[in-house]
């Protein structure tokens, strides 16, 4: 097994390279990450046979990705925080056009005030676009998820946004098992779209559609999201076969007998794992549910895993102001019809890179008796 150490963003770049995209478009300046730096070096050095399109803004980057994908090739872009916000309009168009673009977003806060550190409000603001969303915990998972993302997106014909937490994952050096190109090629077949921009076979894309047509096209997007569960499961099975690593929509840790369950998405999951271990050492039956897929949201799976628990503390790293953390909304939604549903706590854990220590989580679990379900919870 070929192991190496690399930054989370470098692992993403490697995953992209192994996926053999034909077009990479990106805005190279702040808030960009090493992902694009590495990919541009790979293209420049001839390791990756792709067009690297350097553009003047994220709006152009995502537009170029749209164009490339519509032209029938595998397209990739990466961004972060404000850059993702700037892409917003075209993100809609890519989903509506049913183009399997893969985008990696380094989760970082959006101002004001200025803050360059990590939280998930940038991508949570983009949850309703028709893009699938996956949150990664480790560099390995990020690399693997990029490969899976192309597979899933191209089967479901909806784009995927893969999230890595800024700095705590994107800039952390850690070990990664390096897949070979042969393995990757075995897992991910070449992209062969049936319909694309082709002068010899003219079609019109995104032509005007009145409500009766538009309505049903949107219904079809939802159908595809629902159908994507099968595709994702298939991708996970194939991935396991090819690489020997298992993935699922969610991942439970010490969940079976847990009374207090933390729900979280992203790289902070690791810190919570350590906290769960400590709580178990203290005799507190804590557990963890890590959410990988936020879109499509695996509500049925989560319902089965959580319906008998006593306390569910949802650790949000973003807020839907005036409502709840987005993760909390989804978890509550999943458990709505359960007669003996757990106490669900809407906890805002970390915004703008506020540090989270194992002790914080341990104390939170110890204090669970004093928590209220009736209101959003913020740290002291």
């Amino acid at each position: 097994m070929n192991k190496d150490m690399m930054l989370g963003s470098e692992a993403v770049a490697l995953g992209v390279k192994l996926s053999r995209p034909k077009v990479i478009s990106a805005y190279p300046i702040t808030p960009q990450t090493h992902i694009i730096e590495k990919l541009s070096e790979m293209v420049d050095g001839g390791e990756l046979d792709a067009s690297f399109i350097r553009v003047e803004s994220e709006l152009s980057a995502i537009s170029a990705a749209l164009g490339a994908s519509q032209a029938g090739v595998r397209a990739f872009t990466a961004t972060s925080s404000h850059g993702l916000a700037l892409m917003h309009e075209i993100l809609h168009w890519i989903a509506g056009s049913r183009l399997p673009v893969v985008l990696v977003n380094a989760n970082r806060a959006i101002g004001s005030p200025w803050n360059i550190w990590t939280d998930q409000s940038d991508s949570m603001s983009q949850r309703d676009l028709g893009w699938m969303q996956v949150y990664c915990e480790t560099a390995q998972e990020a690399l693997d998820t990029v490969l899976q993302a192309f597979y899933v997106a191209e089967k479901v014909l909806l784009p995927i946004m893969v999230m890595i937490d800024g700095f705590i994952l994107s800039h952390t050096l850690e070990e990664v098992i390096i897949p070979s190109q042969e393995q990757a090629d075995k897992f991910l077949p070449p992209y062969k779209p049936e319909y694309f921009l082709d002068v010899d076979n003219p079609l019109s894309f995104g032509n005007a559609a009145k409500g009766d047509v538009f309505y049903h096209l949107r219904e079809d997007m939802q159908c595809s999201m629902e159908a994507s569960f099968g595709v994702i499961r298939e991708a996970h099975n194939r991935f396991d076969e090819a690489f020997g690593r298992k993935y699922d929509f969610v991942e439970g840790y010490c969940l079976d007998d847990a009374e207090i369950v933390f729900v979280i998405a992203g790289a902070l999951t690791g810190t919570i794992r350590v906290a769960v271990d400590k709580l178990r050492d203290l005799g507190i039956k804590a557990g963890l549910l890590k959410i990988r897929y936020f879109r499509p949201f695996p509500a049925d799976i989560i319902k089965e895993l959580l319906k008998t628990k006593e306390h569910v503390i949802v650790l949000n790293r973003s807020v839907s102001f005036g409502s709840a953390g987005q993760l909390t909304q989804e978890v509550k939604n999943a458990l709505y019809y359960e007669p003996n549903k757990p106490n669900i706590y809407d906890y805002i854990l970390s915004l703008g890179g506020k540090d989270v220590f194992v002790e914080d989580i341990v104390n939170l679990a110890k204090d669970v008796g004093n928590l209220k379900t009736s209101k959003m919870l913020w740290r002291e």
Partner: protein, 544 residues
Amino acid sequence: MESVDYQNVISDKDIRRFPISITTTEVNLTGSWRFYKPEFKEKISPCSVGCPANTNIPKYIHYLLKNDMDRAVEVLRRENPFPATCGRVCPHFCQSKCNRKDYDGAVEIKQIERFVGDYALKVPPKKAKVLSSKKVAVVGGGPAGLSCAYFLALGGYRVDLFEKERFLGGLLIYGIPDYRLPKEVATKEIENILEVGNINVNLGVDVNKEKVEELKKNYDAVFVALGLSEDKTPGNVAIDNEHVFSGYELLKEIKVNGRVDLDGDNISVLGGGNVAFDIARSIRRAGKDVNIICMETLETSPAFEDEKKEAIEEGIKVVDSRFLQNLKITDRGLHLQLRGVDKVLDNYEPVLNDYVEYMDTDILIVAIGRKREESILGIEGVFFGGDFYNGAKTVIEAVASGKKAAFEIMAKLEGKEFKLMNEDDQFFRSTDDFDEYKVIPFERININYFSEQKPIKLSRLAANERVNNFNEIVMKPSLEKILREAKRCFSCGVCNECKTCWFFCPDMCIDVHEKVDFDYSFCKGCGVCSEECPRGVIDMVEDK
């Protein structure tokens, strides 16, 4: 819109439909929404109006930039068979009308024309066919006569051309000094005119009034452009070819022999026109001290500005606002009595003042203009042109008058009405009457498409490099400079296939190839093309 049908292009029942339609937007004929429509209508550029021969300057510049030199030459020759000559000696009235003049400086059209003209020297025009049995006599082989013969020959008429001298060309060959117009250039250009065919040249034939009457009987039409045949002299002075010489004749001698020997070192030239300056500068090149005596002030004297400036640089002294009142021949030379001039009237009569001045000189050269043979002018049914008809003018004006006469003659012989305008092929758009066309003013130029850029600077030989030879003074600009200058042309009213309209058309219904074509099935008449066209080529008209 109803006809756009989204197909079930994906068969998988879960994935379902895509926003792709097999039908195209072509079913949606947006052209039906239109109530104004764009029309491609080229206009006339101010420079074309300024040019007496109405050369389509933007068009040949366009072809030059397209690296289609043969087309550029074709456009130039369509109006003027002397581009290499005019690229050197023409005062370029066009430049004074250039829309760029008050923006950042007129386009240096002269050097562009010279560049294309020099290319044209190597490209003889195509032979013309004989299309008519009628014959025309052209009297005078100068620029006017050659121009008339050329256009008649192109029109399919046979021409007999009569020239008094041993060579064709008139002032081009016998007048303008080599430093302004090298003999080889004019000679080659004349050769090229004759390449058109249909022109039978008769040299050494002196045509007088009787001869014109005879030609009138033997030919279907006669064009006379004899030029000016006799020197004017001040009333009290006679040309004796010892102390007093004719400037015209001396210039001729220099052109033929390459030199002239005058017995004296201190030479005075009388006159303020180009001939006066030309002879003064030519003699200066033999190392003599030369001064010019003219009635006008230096500023108002009729010679070209370049001539005056260069003459002074070369060390020629200009004694202006002076009238030669008396002249005494002494054993030491000439003693001149000059009177001060307050102003010169329109009929060239000076208004003298009381100032008196005396000047000694070895030789006086008279260059105050020439006269024509008036008796011929009385003959009816004959066409006249050139300096003979218009008085001393420029080469391009002679060319224009010959051209105009050729078209008048052809119209007459074909029994048609002569029209200055020829809307269809722009073969001859000519002179003053532009009613049917709009000339593009500066305001119609979409200035957003042009950044300020000064004209190219010309390299000239320094005065000390030129006073001992007859080399051309303005050096030929490099190709790079010529192209840079050509790119400055706004191309007022003339499509140069910039494709701005094509780029902006929201309905993708514009095709640009030589001209702009509109697909009216889809053109909504939004007017963006017309609004954006940098040069006013697209008009919006009501669509009925």
